[in-house]
């Protein structure tokens, strides 16, 4: 007869969106599943589980990573930023989120959190991209709805909004 299988649970503590979060999960729990199901942050989406579509993109210490290709345990001790951390208040959108609204950068919205995190990190490093650079910057994320036209425009508009906000009030 085969041996019974009971999984050992590990206490995993991460800093997510500026706050320490803890949950018990098996070692093999993917970061995407940990965020979504163990921490209840369902804004990060899973489109392929093999790292190609980018819908699961979150920021690990500020850099975009595919959370479907990381174990939650691997992220221990690191700072994770999800779409909720970029802005979870529909009435107070970040520059990138605001740009997407103005430019019709989303339709079904499923790929959107991955784009927003990616673009947010990109603009922190490259605040003033050309249209070609903007297109390159989002060329690692799949979208099946928009045909990318308005997403590229959203990158450029987000850069503008960042400048506008920096020039005016803080944030």
């Amino acid at each position: 007869m085969s041996e019974p299988v009971t999984e050992q649970l590990i206490e995993i503590t991460l800093r997510v969106n500026g706050v320490p979060r803890t949950a018990a999960a098996p070692a093999r729990r993917l970061l995407s599943d940990f965020l979504r199901h163990d921490l209840g942050l369902t804004g990060t989406h899973v489109g392929c589980e093999h790292g190609v579509c980018g819908a699961c993109t979150v920021l690990l210490d500020g850099d975009p990573v595919r959370s479907c290709l990381l174990f939650a345990v691997t992220a221990r001790g690191h700072e994770i930023t999800t779409i909720e951390g970029i802005g979870d208040d529909p009435a107070a959108l970040s520059p990138v989120q605001q740009a997407f609204v103005e430019c019709h950068g989303l339709q079904c919205g499923f790929c959107t959190p991955g784009f927003v995190t990616t673009i947010t990190a990109y603009l922190d490093e490259h605040p003033d991209p050309t249209p070609e650079q903007a297109r390159e910057a989002v060329s690692g994320n799949l979208c099946r709805c928009t045909g990318y036209q308005n997403i590229v425009r959203s990158v450029l508009r987000a850069a503008e909004i960042r400048r506008e906000r920096a020039g005016g009030d803080d944030r």
Binding site: R36, I83, P90, C108, C145, G147
Partner: protein
């Protein structure tokens, strides 16, 4: 005065929620539910000889393991044939869990329900199914040769066969001064929404009822099918469609086996059960589309006018036919495009293969039909040395010939009769947009630089807004909030915004007061679904009509209250006022209060509706015989036929003379979808469609080997375009309103996709100077074609621009 919303680029009301991680897609729901996973067949055709679950029993947290033998009542029957058709003489559908035989890789054999998905998959991995492999049929050629059968009782693997004819094609071809025959083929692709399918069932043990969430394109369809399969009264089943991460056709099929099995398990276990598919499952157990082999024989005069068109095609429908033969029917009818074919005969066979099901994917057979027609047009032009746009133009149905009956039956069982459209005007706009007449100069310049460029063109007509109907319910609450419900579903089409725009205009209220719900059978139980570019046409009109019912009632009540005639009144910004005398007014929300006579005032505003408030005539009943309480209205829109949108695309491509790499330099779209409720949304739909078209023309194909294994069942090997593969898309619009519905709308959902494969093939042919008949095409395939045509001159076609 309210600002008019319809026709404006209104920002979407759903965006702030979706952008801040507050979307509620299927897998976001039911965090405490049990989870299902499936053991799926690794064989394309095999008999199941044993299923041994012993080792799975040791996985902690397994709640149930089910096979076909467990399926009681109607759950054990085959899945329904959703759209029967007289030509579909041999329909075949599968069972929810395979019964004795599997007919494609990916068919579900065992369902495991466990505490979470990881454990369920652990259990699945330990289940040993023994198979006896059977001969496999892959591809149209093998299917039509009839050597092996997918279904024992279906000879030659023919599910359906149909001939449609208008005029005498044989005579026309015999008398034609010129004839040509083309052999064409298109490969499979698939909808591939970023979110796969998912089902979440909440079984209420207290009252024996089911609330089912599904990532579907039809709540009412799923509800009816699941109630039937579970032997439950409709009244005990509700279906709610949550946020959906894209559909593109694959989610209109219902019930998927999982849509039956998950609620069945929930009822059986008395627990909530959820299932979401992973990407590999989606590749091998949802559906594909596009694969056809085609043969066109065309007769034409020396001016390039069509005299006779004889088309035969073979359609690969996969292992089962739950959706009937809608795709080949659409190919056969929409092939005609904006042209008068002279005599037309189309014959097609829909064939079984041991591969994944084939059901509609954005375009739903139109891309294949457009491809056949547009390749033919280019071939005629090449043969006669004429300009390709000119040849098309000579065959156009003219605007004054509308409505134009092609003499065939369309996919809605109604005549293929174009109601409106101005094809010459569309073509003129397209030629201006892309610079058609200046291309020769551009090409000459490019050649001097050692570059190889070409221009292509494609035209299509799209029957949109098929029935049978959609409905709308509009209700004004005493707070002034306007609730709108329509039964079809949303997968990114901006319904919450577009329908709010329509109701805001019809009712004269601010958009911010209007809240739209779609796809919830609790709110609107009569509906069909979102597919075939019908959302705006059907539900847009339905909610407009429902809003008009409410408006009429509001004006009547207001007129009574203000002691004027309803004709003297207008509504703007939620206030009903006498035209020209704005001081005499009453709020719409107050009218809502008065519309419902009350015994009990639930708040101060409601006091006006109570029995002693003096607002009701004591001689009349509080609710008149022919009236109902409440400021609410319901209406349905049901068309006599589809309404026909049209479009024309052009592309400029560049091919590398050495490596045969293909780049799209420009992509231009002119389309006519009648009145546009929100031009920003329409344009977004076109962009998305073009991107999928580019994918289908250059990157996407399903690669099956001879044993029926799908070799590229992941995003690593099934190539969908990223931002760098989709060119900048230039659009221009024509608006010939539809004469068939009150708002003049025609559908636009599939417009971007339909002609792209044809247009790119056309441009590549122009660049390379030899025929391109097989799509999609990769650089290495283009390179091989170059070698094969090396004996031909490398000069561009005679007479091309």
């Amino acid at each position: 005065m309210s600002t008019r919303q319809v026709g404006e680029k209104v920002q979407r009301v759903e965006d702030p929620r979706l952008l801040t991680g507050n979307g509620r897609y299927l897998d976001d729901l039911g965090q405490g539910a049990l989870q299902a996973a499936f053991v799926r067949s690794p064989h394309a055709h095999a008999r199941i000889t044993d299923i041994d679950v012993t080792d799975a029993l040791d996985v902690d947290g397994v709640e149930g393991i089910y096979t076909y033998e467990d399926l009681d009542g109607r759950t054990g029957e085959t899945l329904p044939v959703l759209i029967p058709h007289p030509s579909l003489t041999h329909p075949r559908t599968g069972h929810c869990l395979a019964r004795d035989v599997v007919k494609h890789v990916g068919e579900a054999v065992v369902m495991v329900v466990a505490r979470d998905r990881y454990l369920a998959e652990d259990a699945c991995a330990r289940i040993r199914v023994s198979y006896e492999p059977l001969p496999v049929v892959v591809g149209v050629e093998q299917a039509r040769s009839g050597g092996h059968r997918v279904h024992d009782d279906v000879p030659d693997n023919v599910a359906a066969h149909l001939v449609q004819e208008v005029g005498d094609v044989e005579a026309a071809l015999a008398a034609a001064p010129n004839t040509l025959t083309l052999e064409l083929d298109i490969e499979r692709s698939a909808s591939m929404p970023l979110e796969g399918k998912g089902v979440y069932a909440r079984w209420d043990t207290d009252d024996g009822s089911l609330r089912l969430y599904s990532s579907t394109q039809t709540s009412t369809g799923v509800r009816a099918a699941v109630a039937a399969k579970l032997g439950m009264p409709l009244a005990k089943v509700e279906v709610v469609t949550p946020d959906v991460g894209g559909g593109f056709g694959v989610k209109i099929v219902h019930p998927w086996p999982e849509e039956v099995l998950v609620p069945w398990a929930a009822r059986r276990l008395g627990r909530d059960v959820k299932w979401t598919e992973d990407r590999r499952e989606h590749f091998v157990s949802s559906s594909h589309e596009r694969g056809q082999l085609q043969q066109v024989t065309v007769g034409f005069d020396d001016d390039g006018r069509l005299l006779g068109l004889d088309v035969r095609f073979w359609h690969d429908n996969g292992a089962y036919t739950p959706y009937g033969v809608i795709v080949p029917i659409i190919t056969a009818t929409q092939l005609l495009g904006p042209y008068k074919p002279g005599a037309y005969r189309v014959e097609w066979w829909s064939l079984y293969t041991n591969t994944v099901l084939v059901t509609p994917y954005r375009g739903a057979g139109r891309p294949q039909g457009c491809y056949a027609m547009e390749r033919t047009m280019d071939a005629i032009a090449a043969h006669l040395g004429l300009d390709r746009a000119e040849v098309r133009s000579r065959n156009f149905i003219q605007p004054e010939e509308m409505p134009y009956d092609q003499g065939l039956m369309f996919q809605d069982g109604r005549p293929l009769r174009y109601d409106s459209g101005d094809f010459p005007a569309s073509l003129a706009k397209l030629k201006a947009l892309v610079g058609w007449d200046d291309f020769a100069a551009y090409r000459a310049l490019a050649e001097r630089e050692g570059r190889r460029v070409g221009i292509g063109i494609g035209c299509y007509v799209e029957g949109t807004g098929v029935g049978p109907y959609e409905g709308g319910v509009v209700q004004v609450e005493t707070s002034g909030r306007v609730n709108v419900a329509t039964g079809l579903t949303t997968q990114g089409q901006s319904h919450q915004t577009a329908f709010a725009q329509i109701v805001a205009d019809e009712l004269g209220v601010p958009m911010a007061d209007v809240h739209v719900t779609t796809g919830d059978t609790r709110r609107m139980a009569y509906a069909v679904g979102t597919f075939a570019s019908r959302g705006a046409v059907m539900s847009g009109n339905a909610v407009a009509l429902a809003a008009r019912v409410v408006r009429a009632k509001a004006l009547r009540i207001a007129a009574d209250a203000l002691e004027v005639s309803p004709d003297d009144l207008d509504i703007a910004d939620g206030v009903i006022a006498v035209k020209g005398a704005p001081g005499t007014s009453i709020d719409l929300k107050t009218v809502a209060v008065l519309s419902n006579p009350l015994r009990y005032a639930f708040d101060t505003s409601a006091q006006a509706a109570t029995q002693f408030a003096g607002t009701f005539d004591p001689e009349k009943p509080p609710v008149a015989d022919d009236d109902e309480p409440g400021l609410e209205g319901q209406d349905f829109y049901s068309p006599t036929q589809a309404t026909f949108a049209n479009g024309m695309h052009a592309a400029v491509v560049e091919t590398d003379p050495v490596t045969a790499e293909i780049r799209i330099l420009r992509y231009c779209v002119v389309h006519d979808c009648g009145t546009m409720v929100n031009p920003m949304v329409v344009e977004g739909q076109v962009h998305g469609g073009v991107a999928q078209g580019v994918g289908g023309a250059l990157y996407e194909r399903m690669v099956y080997d001879e044993s029926g294994q799908l070799l590229n069942a992941s995003f690593m090997d099934f190539l969908m375009p990223y931002a760098t593969e989709v060119p900048h898309i230039e659009t221009d619009h024509l608006e010939t309103p539809s004469p068939l519905n009150p708002l003049g709308i025609k559908g636009a959902g599939e417009a971007g996709t339909i002609p792209v494969t044809a247009v790119i093939a056309s441009a590549l042919e122009d660049a390379e100077g030899f025929p391109i008949r097989s799509m999609p095409i990769s650089p290495s395939e283009l390179w091989e074609l170059r070698l094969a045509h090396a004996s031909d001159t490398a000069a561009p076609q005679e007479g091309s621009p």
